[in-house]
């Protein structure tokens, strides 16, 4: 375990969200330590996406606070908000690449316009990031010319180019054809092994077992179980997590 008595890299405290008159998140808290990989699991509609989007203030929670490296982030201060978001990378289920830009421009645009890098410097950095996810040869293609797996790898490169301290990944392989899942998981595995701090919503159980430091089981806006994958997913542990996972494995017929 990487956990110790250091301060957490990111601390989420008592986040509550109401949307459309319903309580979507009910005072969710978590501490994220440097180099740690947490996996969010749970039934659809349980609040995983909402929690991840709160964690970089894409959704403003009604209550609760976020600290990054021990400092409280004020989401109502535009400067602070933009600088915070640069430090927290986000990967979406449906990629959200900028459709009018080539792969290399997708990765480079925030470097230029947010970081203020020059054109050449930004392009070189963008190329390096694309090569890191194995897409150096696709740099000049537009999103519509890429496969789903390639799009997701470009979006990972785009996030990494900002040198984030934390990466949030919202079911990064759920929108992919089965044969494209592994190329994306390979990239994410590489990140984890290089010590990137991550929170990832996923139903990839094999991946979770081998890489997660902690599994958080979310249901109805709350984390109802948490622990190491070994404990939560052990045969006969009788946890909700195990129960849920055996259901999805039955349905999807994949091997854990």
């Amino acid at each position: 375990m990487k956990r110790n008595d250091k301060t957490p890299l990111m601390r989420v405290q008592g986040i509550s969200v109401r949307l459309g008159g319903r309580e979507i998140l009910k005072s969710v808290s978590l501490d994220l330590y440097e180099g740690e990989m947490k996996v969010l699991i749970g039934p659809s509609g349980g609040g995983k996406s909402t929690l991840l989007q709160c964690m970089n203030y894409l959704i403003l929670p009604d209550r609760g606070e976020i600290e990054l490296e021990g400092r409280n982030v004020d989401p109502h201060n535009a400067r602070e908000l933009c600088s915070f978001r640069q430090q927290v990378g986000m990967i979406f289920q449906d990629f959200n690449l900028f459709d009018h830009l080539t792969a290399v421009e997708n990765v480079g645009i925030a470097l230029r316009k947010v970081r203020g890098m020059g054109r050449t410097e930004a392009r070189d950095r963008a190329m390096a990031e694309l090569e890191r996810v194995g897409l150096g040869d696709k740099a000049r293609l537009y999103p519509a010319e890429l496969s789903g797996g390639q799009k997701q790898r470009v979006s990972i490169a785009r996030a990494l180019a900002m040198d984030p301290k934390v990466m949030l990944l919202d079911e990064p392989t759920s929108a992919l054809d089965p044969e494209l899942v592994s190329e994306v998981l390979t990239v994410i595995r590489g990140l984890a092994q290089n010590g990137m701090t991550m929170v990832m919503a996923t139903h990839q159980m094999g991946f979770t077992r081998s890489l997660a430091d902690e599994v958080l089981f979310m249901q109805e806006g709350q984390i109802i179980e948490q622990g190491s994958p070994k404990d939560l997913l052990a045969d006969g542990s009788g946890t909700r997590t195990l129960d849920f996972c055996s259901q999805i494995l039955d349905v999807e017929g994949c091997t854990p």
Partner: protein, 221 residues
Amino acid sequence: METLNVLLEALPYVLQGGAVTVFAVVGAMFLGLAVGVPLAVAQVYGNAPLRFLSGLYVWFFRGVPILVLLFLFYFGLFNLIGLNLNAVGAATIVLGMTSGAYQSQIFRGSILSLSKGQLKAARALGMSDGLAIRSIILPQALRLSIPGWSNEYSIILKDSALAFVLGASEIMARTHFVASRTYKHLPMYLTAAVLYFLLTWAGVAALRALEKRVRIKGYVQ
């Protein structure tokens, strides 16, 4: 024969009117763009007062006939504020402000047709909303607006004939002048019709070429 002579003699004069028409229409298109983009952004992303004000603008210019607007501005408002414009300038501004209302609705539709994820992804990279709108949303929305823009062009072109009533010496005014002097009504107004038709065709072709030029590979909505 006599008709042909009148036509040939009048043609250069009427064609100069064509230049005036083109000036007014192109000017109005760009003024409409300059007005329409901020209006559309205000309507989609603005706070309540901004949305209200831009809605009011659109409602006003869509609800009042151009003829009324031309008189209202040329003889009324421009005089009142001491703006000394000739008829062509006044017509260009009125056509442009009206077009801004219609163009804003084209852009608004294009912006709303983009996936919400585009803005989310831009914000997640640390872009401010202003930057995200300028560098991510508008480049896509404007591309999608070109077909609507082409339609708007043909409408402004035809509306521009109304500038005649202010005394702007555009196609219609010059045609009318010659026709009423020579009594060659049918050939003269046919000439005007053909000129408008050709200008519509040329503008639409130019915009189609622009659309092709800025097209992004594989981009479908």
